[in-house]
Symmetry: C2
Subunit: 251 residues, 2 copies
DNA sequence: CGCCAGGTTGACACTTTTCAAGCCGCGTGG
DNA sequence: CCACGCGGCTTGAAAAGTGTCAACCTGGCG
């Protein structure tokens, strides 16, 4: 492994092999892969995760209707998932960040069901689904890990349904910010200060609100001293207050 | 089926053996299991699907927080899935009918994440998850089939998000009725006439509406000649009109 | 028979949307 | 370097949609 690193730096031909993932070295490993793998198993998995792919901001990783053949682990960057309906209305179904898996919606029908759009320049590891299936049979724990990831996606979505079904605008925004905060924290970033990668319109689309309502909710939370907002920069000043709004229906 | 019904009435001893599933004979097979299984594989699977369980109306199949150890195939009956939040608010995250799988939300955390409540007397086949994992390795196609089911659950939920995020009350009701209609149709029931198993309040909770709004939407659709409603009985009179409301944002 | 859960309908209040105007920051081109 | 244009954001006012509260109806069941 170390020797191939060396070779890689010395020979430009190896740029292409650079594109091969090195799961063993990846600091996101614990997010993508089950714990307690042996070295051989890691090697096997690396052979499955065949290429990294760069997606420029605004470009799509896949589109609705594209044949499904792989899921993607986000190595860096930020994505939105978007569903477009017959009548032209669309909705952002989720935002995905480093260490999360995209594309699992495609398994059911064999084609993708939404668009995955990069909101900043991003890089993903492509994991061919047929290889994942094979390997799930061989590596103990991988199957279960993948099931967990899918199941979490189901649970995540039911959380969003809750947002959309029972919360009012301010609560939705509070929940949204707390969710981002918690995920950023889990990745070692500051949970209290961050940059939003998406526009107000995209936030609104995700939360079932108009962009004006999103803007007003931000203003309200600011007026109440819970957050500071400046364009896409957000600082959470009073996280407990935010949680109260989210959880307790307090005015 | 008719003969075993008869036997059941004549001999109480048979009740217990009846409880063992017989996937090979089950008319729901194509919903639960992948196509093209050999007889041996079916036998294997029958040994996995260890028991049927009867759930009386109003009782729960599992509750949020219960340890997860099985998924359930609905053999008969009707369920709602419900999530309750800290502050006491709850939401119906879905309705499940014959041939659908319940419980996949539990895989991620190892505990169930919602309550599954029978809305009528129901019967499920219990499928222990560890057996499902094992067997997924052995039977070609079973793993993929299970992945498909989970993926469909993800896609289904994103459809609900759409409902909640971008549709207004009447559109939500139209979408809800069309969805029921289509699922009933797929199971050989009439797509145009059916009984609702849930209350207006439960419909509202699922669609993010108050029960009064649900009731008014039903009345409006009736006034426009699209449906007839009498208590829980629904007849769709003009399915195309209903689809227009659902899809086209028409007034 | 009377109660009660579930459903319908009306009137009014509240939230959110819609429409409109204007601001800000950033990148492009003169 | 500055002006301009434009996307993104904020704010206001009015309109629309939905929630809330209340009254009443209906059917099933003890």
């Amino acid at each position: 492994m170390a020797t191939s690193e060396l070779a890689r730096q010395q020979n430009t031909h190896l740029v292409l092999t650079e594109l091969k993932a090195a799961c063993a070295d990846c600091n996101l490993r614990e997010l993508c892969l089950p714990a307690g793998l042996t070295n051989e198993e890691l090697d096997q998995i690396e052979s499955m995760v065949n290429v990294r792919r760069k997606i420029r901001r605004g470009d799509t990783l896949y589109r609705s209707g594209d044949p499904f053949d792989a899921v993607y682990a986000i190595r860096s960057g930020f994505f939105k998932s978007r569903v477009t309906y017959e009548d032209g209305r669309d909705q952002v179904t989720g935002f995905s960040m480093v260490g999360e898996i995209l594309g699992m919606d495609g398994i059911g029908q064999g084609t993708h069901h939404c668009d995955a759009v990069a909101l900043e320049d991003s890089e993903v590891c492509s994991i061919p689904y047929v290889r994942l299936e094979e390997m799930s049979r061989e590596i103990n724990g991988l199957q279960r890990h993948f099931h967990r990831l899918m199941s979490r996606e189901i649970v995540r979505e039911s959380g969003v349904m809750m947002l959309l079904g029972v919360m009012r605008a301010e609560e939705r925004i509070a929940a949204f910010l707390l969710n981002l905060s918690q995920r950023l924290n889990a990745r070692g970033y500051s949970p209290l200060e961050f940059h939003l990668r998406m526009t107000r319109e995209e936030i609104g689309s995700h939360l079932g609100l108009q962009l004006e309502t999103v803007s007003r909710a931000f203003s309200k939370l600011h007026k109440d001293g819970l957050i500071e907002v400046e364009q896409k920069f957000v600082r959470i000043c009073n996280i407990e207050g935010l949680k109260k709004i989210y959880a307790h229906h307090v005015n």
